[in-house]
């Protein structure tokens, strides 16, 4: 049973073709069902008596929730609303794809999508005004990135702490089953843990999680008693204040704006300021900032690795049309997804690692 709000959006999108050219999944699979209009059409047919079954549920997971379609819509309709809600229906009606079920089990058992014990990191102090929220992707898959950003904070003389048992932010669970009470409870636990730390500023490494904390937590009454900032804007601020002074590096790079940082948080310039501060020549991809084509996500890679490989290839095609030999990224998710498909003539580098070397 869909909400009235979802129905409003499905009814609007079901016969609208305007944003299909932006769907990173549809562009690579070429399948009609991988368009926002097709998903809306299917749900509208369900509302008219068609059976909501595993097949339709599966179609709802062939989406990165990157918001490119939403960003394009001049009349304000948002396919992610009904896609998320359809995922809730799939969970409630026991129609989840098997791979999705496995990830939910992992989250339930370990608090992260990988189903592993999350590695522990320590800050420079047990209590500090700055709390670094590492997130599960960086913690489990990108230790080099974590080391680099911690090194940068130390070089800038910023005392910081990390949570000894960092709870999940509810980002991935929310993407998997929609914004339901279980998700809110997970978010509440995370907000409580952050509040207990007494930090005044929370620096969030993964833009997906920063988006959840900054935009969803207030909607869910999960108050964080601190400023939530993205790692990119925090580090750019340290450079601006002269606390980090990078040496100049030569080279031509391009940068991939990840969808939640660029579209949901509308943050584009801090990264570019960091790249500029290092003296690197930034060659923009044609589709950049809010228009950037999503490369996939770690969550998509976890439950549909073949789709994530295709979306990554799609974005590499854009990189390949630039003359830059290096793709710079700031997201642990982008590093994992794009890093798995690097073409032979290109390389991928994490901005914090580069900056740490330059400082």
């Amino acid at each position: 049973m869909m909400s009235q709000n979802s129905k409003k959006h499905t009814e609007a999108c079901r016969f609208c073709w305007m944003c299909r050219h932006l769907c990173p999944v549809g562009l690579t699979t070429g399948r009609e069902v991988n368009t926002p209009r097709a998903k809306a059409l299917l749900l509208s047919m369900v509302d008219r008596g068609e059976k909501f079954d595993k097949d339709i549920a599966q179609a709802m997971y062939e989406c990165v929730l990157c918001g490119s379609c939403t960003n394009d819509c001049v009349t304000g309709f948002d396919p992610t609303i009904f896609i998320r809600e359809a995922r809730t229906m799939a969970a409630v009606e026991d129609l989840l794809p098997k791979a999705v079920e496995e990830i939910i089990t992992n989250i339930s058992n370990t608090g992260n999508i990988y189903g592993v014990q999350k590695p522990k990191y320590t800050g420079t102090a047990a209590k500090a005004e700055v709390l670094l929220y590492i997130g599960e992707v960086a913690a489990c898959k990108q230790p080099t990135l974590v080391t680099a950003i911690m090194s940068l904070l130390k070089k800038a003389d910023i005392p910081f702490t990390v949570l000894e048992e960092e709870p999940a932010s509810a980002t991935f669970l929310g993407d998997l089953i929609g914004f339901v009470e279980e998700v809110r409870i997970q978010a509440k636990d995370c907000a409580n843990a952050i509040n207990t730390s007494g930090a005044k500023t929370v620096v969030v490494l993964d833009s997906y999680e920063a988006t959840t904390m900054k935009q969803r937590y207030p909607e869910w009454n999960c108050t964080i008693n601190a400023d939530v900032v993205t790692a990119t804007s925090f580090i750019a601020g340290l450079i601006e204040e002269g606390k980090l002074v990078p040496k100049k590096i030569t080279g031509e790079v391009t940068y991939h704006d990840d969808s939640r940082l660029a579209r949901d948080l509308d943050e584009h310039e801090p990264v570019r300021n960091i790249i500029k501060a290092m003296g690197l020549n930034l060659q923009e991809m044609f589709l950049n900032r809010r228009m950037a084509k999503c490369c996939g996500s770690e969550l998509l890679k976890a439950y549909a690795p073949e789709l994530a490989a295709l979306t990554a290839e799609g974005r590499w095609e854009d990189v390949n049309r630039t003359t830059a030999d290096t793709l710079v990224v700031v997201s642990p998710q982008v590093m994992n997804v794009m890093g798995a498909k690097v073409p032979s003539a290109k390389q991928i580098k994490d901005l914090y690692v580069l900056l740490d070397q330059a400082c």
């Binding site: 073709w17 299909r20 932006l22 699979t29 399948r31 009609e32 069902v33 509208s44 001049v74 309709f77």
Partner: protein, 474 residues
């Protein structure tokens, strides 16, 4: 073809062997999705909760060679083949009315060549046209094919239905822009049209397949002209006392100059849609015009336009309305701005010479409004030539019959009446949306004895009649 489950699996295996298991679908979600395109009837049918027409197999080929093999299999088993691009056509041209195969072309979306010296770009036809335009833009050029469906349709779709963009008055229709094509014929042969279209080596084969709507073959690759982005683009809005004055001014402008955009709205559209979207408050017939190119030339051309407009008592409304229209040119088509179910509506675009065009406008308007109470008629002229123009006539019915079958019959009666009024007065059955399923029944009336040319081509190229049955009158 009648086949049981056993046979279905045999055919499916052959198709999987050609394109790969992952590129053949019989999923119900796919079947529903490919049964609804932008055609009003298919949307209304879905809105009423009716099952749409369904294909048996949905294929996603990756090469022309794969398509060739698919067509050989389809011919052997006599399975209908419906080619699908973006599915955004308004005429039902892609709907799988005969079941069988849907051939979704969108995996074939690669850029093949960018030739700066010749100013051409070549790509596979499953590419969404906006992607091709962006690739051109990356190099500082444009295809200048900017239709309202730029983001919705594919290159192949634009070619198959003989599409047009908002800049057509200067840069031409898709058939003027295409240099050459690769086509898979129904028997599986892969052919190319000649390298360039201007020659004296017989008829231009491009023009046989452009507009053929998947009934004569499948276009897999195409080369298009590229244009420099104009140094200067100037807009101007004018208000004429009526449509007659506006048409006369438009004719005189076209017979001296080549604007990129020239749009003239009748009084009904001026006080409804134009007022809503760009805020023009005055009564009359609104004209939006753009000139572009070298600024020195554009300045002189605009002076000539102003002189012509003054001759027909047109009021100069300045550049703001034109710029606002340009900024909002796609906004018109988003949900909330565009006409939508449960309304019944349709665009009966026709094209004719200047001698007949106004007569056609009034004939269509009177035929629709006098025969169908509760139906409104609005129109504009948006693509112009030295010899004539088109009319983008739309009918709108706010409260159509609830019963879907009754609605289909009324819909078709309105279309028959409007289109026949156009054809009887020297207009053509359609200007730029194509024929598809919607107008198929009227093709013989349009062509008369000339229809045997198209029928002869069909019979020779597709003797088993497997290619997109029931479309284009073939």
């Amino acid at each position: 073809m009648k086949c049981n489950a056993f046979m279905n699996d045999m055919v499916r295996s052959e198709l999987e062997d050609i394109v790969g298991v992952e590129h053949v679908s019989t999923r119900e979600s796919d079947k529903i999705t490919y049964g609804v395109d932008y055609f009003w009837i298919s949307r209304m049918w879905a809105d009423k909760g009716q099952r749409p027409p369904q294909a048996d197999y949905i294929l996603h080929p990756g090469t022309a060679q794969e398509i060739s093999k698919i067509l050989k299999v389809a011919n052997y088993y006599k399975i209908p083949v419906h080619t699908w691009g973006g599915g955004s056509g308004s005429q039902g041209g892609a709907l799988p009315m005969a079941g069988g195969i849907i051939l979704d072309m969108k995996r074939m979306n690669k850029l093949i060549e960018f030739d700066e010296e010749s100013r051409t770009i070549t790509a596979e036809t499953g590419m969404i046209f906006q992607q091709l335009e962006w690739l051109a833009n990356e190099h500082g050029y444009s295809t200048m094919h900017i239709p309202s469906c730029l983001t919705c349709g594919t290159i192949g779709g634009a070619l198959a239905h003989r599409g047009i963009g908002i800049m057509s008055t200067k840069y031409g229709k898709i058939d003027d822009m295409c240099i050459n094509m690769e086509i898979v014929l129904p028997n599986g042969d892969i052919m190319n049209t000649l390298p360039v279209p201007k020659h004296a080596a017989g008829p231009d084969l491009n023009q046989i397949f452009i507009g053929s709507e998947g009934t004569l073959g499948i276009i897999t690759k195409a080369t298009f002209k590229l244009f420099e982005q104009p140094e200067n683009r100037q807009f101007r809005g004018f208000m004429f006392p009526n449509m007659t004055a506006g048409l006369s001014a438009g004719r005189d402008i076209m017979q001296k100059l080549k604007p990129s955009i020239l749009r003239l709205y009748d009084e009904a559209e001026t006080i409804s849609i134009i007022k809503k979207i760009i805020g023009v408050e005055k009564k009359g017939s609104f004209m939006n015009l753009a000139l572009e190119g070298d600024k020195r030339i554009v300045d002189i051309e605009m002076e000539i336009v102003r002189d012509i407009v003054a001759k027909y008592d047109g009021e100069d409304m300045g550049f703001e309305y034109g710029e606002k229209w340009y900024e909002n040119r796609i906004t018109f088509f988003y949900p909330g701005n565009i006409m939508e179910i449960p309304q019944m509506f349709g665009t009966m675009d026709t094209v004719a010479d200047f001698k007949n065009i106004e007569k056609i406008y009034w004939a269509m308007k009177n035929a629709i409004e006098s025969n169908f109470p509760g139906v409104r008629f609005i129109a504009h002229c948006s693509h112009w030539y030295e010899w004539g123009t088109m009319i983008y006539d739309r009918f709108i019915m706010d409260n159509p019959p609830q019963d879907p079958e009754e609605a289909i019959r009324l819909h078709n009666q309105i279309w028959n009446t409007g289109v026949r009024a156009a054809m009887e007065n020297g207009g053509v059955i359609n200007d730029h949306h194509g024929i598809g399923l919607k107008l198929s029944r009227l093709m013989k009336e349009q062509y008369g004895p000339a229809m045997q040319v198209l029928e002869g081509l069909k019979k020779t190229l597709d003797p088993n009649g497997i290619m997109n049955p029931y479309k284009l009158g073939l």
